[in-house]
């Protein structure tokens, strides 16, 4: 009889139940989506911040002081120390290798250059000095464990925009900065002649793209590092390497000097991907180097990342609260509507306890069905939202399902508790009379 009563209340008035169910399911869907996105988005957000550019800079330890003004190093080519390009694969063998997102070595050479395109009826063409920046683009790096990794400057500095295409590795091609392109009248497809101060012959480079960075590179030429090495007569060497690594925002603990830490602390420190611990492990595989943290990037990244994460969680909590309130309210409403029914049951001899259990059973059934539907649609919702907003789909988590079901049951019961208590005090007679 009990089950029949419960079943009846669902089949007799499907429409009324349907709306409550829909509200419940949607509320739980919102909760599921918010939870799934927040649980999964932390790592992805850190990845997003890699568009800020490289956060580590590796330079030779025994280097003379760079004389760099406006991105141009005024040291003569034979001054200062160089590092071997062949060692760079080791960057992907460190403990934090999966956190190393990209790296690109740089070798700058002061060159003289002229472009035949700037030669026209009014001028005989400009021969002027510029900086040629040798680096990688879409370069395949052999890793000591036998695999390869493709990386390049377009990954370490994602804000560098090339109108045209990047140079191909191993070809005599280059991209030129936007300011350079205006000054020398060089367009994509032109041939650029360059020569370093210490060589005599002109090297021909084909311009394949125009680079705009908003930085000093706008005045320079960017070419494969092999070209720069040849011009500087430094085969297989580079001057510095930019590394883009996924890091954990720095906190007070991360700023401690590892030398003063206790063994436990040291272990915790080296097992957290702080930028300083990544720098430490890079120094170990590239001997003779200094690894600098690019403060401007790291601090900005850490600060904004912490903020955005907090925001995400707070929005999740607010969404959960609102969903709970709305669901609780509609659960309460669905009990309130049934005064007449309760009066009749009592008139027929049911006591308050039985009525309460009956209604609670109904609400629980509703909660589980609604919670289940809500979870399923919430997963879909999380996928859609995740893909549209953050560009990835969060993976469904089983524990979220249990959490949602528990939440649904709790909220509907809480929402129903208050009207149920009132219902238990109803006198059947006035209700049945319609008063």
């Amino acid at each position: 009889m009990f089950l029949r009563l419960v079943a009846d209340s669902f089949t007799r008035r499907p429409r009324r139940k349907l709306l409550t169910l829909a509200a419940l399911a949607l509320g739980m869907a919102v909760a599921t989506a918010a939870l799934s996105v927040s649980l999964d988005v932390g790592d992805r957000l850190a990845r997003e911040f890699r568009s800020l550019g490289a956060n580590l800079l590796v330079t030779p330890q025994a280097d003379s002081l760079p004389l760099e003004i406006g991105g141009v190093d005024y040291r003569p080519a034979n001054a200062g120390a160089y590092l071997p390009e062949g060692d760079l694969g080791k960057l992907k063998t460190i403990f934090w290798r999966f956190n190393i997102m990209a790296f690109a070595p740089v070798l700058e050479v002061p060159v003289e250059t002229w472009s035949p395109a700037s030669k026209n009826w009014s001028s005989s063409g400009v021969v002027d000095r510029a900086t040629l920046i040798g680096t990688w683009s879409g370069h395949t790096v052999p890793i000591p464990d036998g695999t390869t990794y493709v990386t390049g400057v377009e990954k370490t500095n994602p804000w560098w925009h090339v109108d045209g295409k990047w140079f191909a590795e191993g070809a005599d091609e280059c991209v030129v900065g936007s300011a350079f392109s205006i000054k020398f009248g060089a367009k994509a497809g032109d041939i650029l002649n360059v020569h370093a101060n210490n060589s005599t012959g002109w090297q021909k480079l084909k311009v394949v793209g125009i680079l705009s960075t908003g930085g000093p590179e706008d005045n320079g030429i960017v070419a494969p590092i092999a070209v720069a090495q040849q011009l500087a007569e430094k085969p297989g060497q580079y001057r510095r390497v930019y590394v883009s690594a996924l890091t954990k925002p720095e906190d007070a603990f991360a700023r401690k000097d590892p030398k003063t830490m206790s063994p436990d602390e040291l272990e915790r420190w080296s097992c957290s991907p702080y930028v300083s611990s990544i720098a430490y492990s890079i120094r170990q595989v590239l001997p003779g180097t200094d690894v600098h943290v690019i403060r401007r990037v790291v601090e900005g990244e850490g600060r904004v990342l912490t903020r955005v994460r907090t925001l995400l969680w707070l929005v999740t909590i607010v969404a959960l609260l609102a969903a709970a309130l709305a669901v609780g309210a509609s659960a309460a409403a669905s009990v309130l509507e049934r005064r007449a029914e309760i009066g009749l049951m009592k008139a027929l001899g049911a006591n308050s306890g039985l009525v309460g259990v009956l209604l609670a059973a109904e609400q629980l059934l509703l909660a589980f069905v609604g919670g289940g539907i809500g979870y399923a649609s919430g997963i879909v919702l999380a996928r859609v939202l995740g893909e549209r907003i953050f560009g990835f789909a969060p993976a469904p988590k089983l524990f979220v399902l249990f959490l949602i079901l528990a939440l649904a049951a709790l909220i509907t019961l809480l929402g129903s508790a208050f009207p149920l208590r009132r219902a238990s005090r109803y006198e059947p007679a006035p209700i049945l009379r319609g008063e």
Binding site: L19, A22, A23, L26, G27, V30, A34, L45, E48, F49, S51, L52, G53, L57, S64, L65, I69, G70, V72, Y74, R129, A130, T131, P158, W159, G214, P216, H292, V293, I294, R295, R296, V297, V298, E299, G300, R303, V304, R307, T310, L311, L314, V315, V318, L321, A322, A323, L325, A326, V327, A329, S330, A332, A333, S334, L336, E337, L385, R388, I389
Partner: protein, 385 residues
């Protein structure tokens, strides 16, 4: 709206007929309104906050002479340009520092081996905002010294100097002395430079009244930054004014993500609210069959009856919206504090907007009441469904 007192009396009775339900519907509407206004306000605030956060990353505008890459002394700007820069933009101060770079021979006092280093003469307000990173050593007492200078961490290691040490600088027969008051670490090229007062650098380089470039840190959205840039470019046609793009792009992207997230949450919560209210209203519809039958029987037109319910829905929406949005604004102040460390500034435009949205949601949720229009009085009285 009718001025008929009877009309309002009926509306009042409709509203107060069932306090439990009134409370439930108001709760749902209020929750929706609170979330809407809190998140909308936060969204408006987030844009401003994020720009501020990213501005902490240092200079984002550079004014340089047209042609800088020829020689090390290169082209220079007139120092007077610095004085003509606006000190405020959109109510925020604009830190602006002029730099004059030169390469000079440097040694620590007491040693004789001179090595070349980049000397940066600085003048202007807000060097610490322009140059991100931190001072790893700093002595306030020495800063006021007329020949005080700062040194980058890498240069400090190279010359083996600490705060309080004296440096000797030489350039083409001209010499200067400076006393180190701070060591700075930025991870950038600043680490290799020595920062002196502009006068000193100008004397060393023999370029009186000249500077190499000006760096500014402008707070503002990407759009207002572009306006600032083009205004400056017009003012100084001889100089090359450009923005540093490295952070602008990431900033825009992250703001879009946040804003998308907040909008999606608001929309979802509003749909949820309206479903909940709708569930309540469909019960109301069932309950009011008799009332409507009676109204029609004594000559109330369908339109009049519907207007009655519309008035009820609007009143509910206003009540829920006014209370909920106010709570939402308070919540957003707290949210702003929790997220950005600074209380969010309540934007008053958010308040009417979220009240209006709530009223709209409430009207939409009263949709089930439409069924009442088609009730026939006779069948209602006979107790038929």
């Amino acid at each position: 709206m009718p001025t008929n007192p009877m009309f309002w009396r009926i509306v009042r009775r409709l509203l107060t007929g069932n306090y439990g339900r009134l409370f439930v519907i108001l709760l749902a509407l209020g929750a929706g309104a609170a979330v809407t206004s809190a998140l909308l306000n936060l969204q408006m605030d987030a844009k401003r906050r994020l720009t501020t956060e990213f501005r902490a990353l240092g200079a984002n505008v550079i004014i340089a002479p047209r042609d800088t890459n020829t020689t090390s002394s290169g082209a220079t700007l007139d120092e007077a340009v610095l004085a003509q820069l606006p000190s405020e933009y959109e109510g925020k101060t604009v830190p602006a520092v002029g730099f004059l770079y030169l390469i000079a021979e440097v040694t620590k006092d007491g040693t004789t081996r001179y090595e070349p280093a980049v000397i940066a003469g600085t003048v202007g307000r807000g060097l610490t905002e322009i140059r991100p990173g931190r001072r790893i050593e700093y002595s306030e007492a020495l800063e006021s010294d007329p020949s005080a200078c700062e040194i980058g961490a890498k240069a400090a290691a190279q010359f083996n100097v600490q705060v309080g040490d004296t440096l000797l600088i030489q350039n083409q027969g001209r010499a200067a002395v400076c006393k180190v008051f701070a060591v700075v670490a930025t991870g950038g090229t600043e680490d290799t430079q020595i920062f002196v007062r502009l006068k000193e650098a100008q004397e060393l380089a023999d370029l009186p009244g000249r500077i190499s470039l000006i760096q500014l840190s402008v707070t503002g959205t990407p759009d207002s930054l572009n306006r600032f840039l083009s205004a400056l470019a017009q003012k100084f046609p001889d100089a090359d004014v450009h923005g540093i793009k490295q952070f602008a792009e990431a900033e825009g992207r992250i703001y879009n993500r946040i804003s998308g997230l907040l909008s999606a949450t608001v929309v979802l919560i509003l749909v949820l609210t309206s479903l909940c209210v709708m569930a309540g209203m469909s019960n109301v519809a069932v309950e009011r069959k008799n009332d409507v039958g009676l109204m029609k029987a004594i000559g109330g037109s369908v339109r009049r009856v519907l207007r009655l319910f519309l008035a009820e829905a609007i009143l509910l929406g206003i009540a829920g919206g006014v209370a909920g949005s106010a709570i939402g604004l308070l919540i957003s102040i707290w949210l702003g504090k929790a997220v950005f460390g600074v209380a969010a500034h309540p934007r008053w435009i958010v308040y009417p907007v979220s009240v209006a949205i709530t009223v709209l949601v409430s009207i939409v949720s009263a949709f089930p009441l439409r069924r009442l229009a088609s009730i026939r009085p006779a069948s209602a009285f006979r107790g038929e469904a």
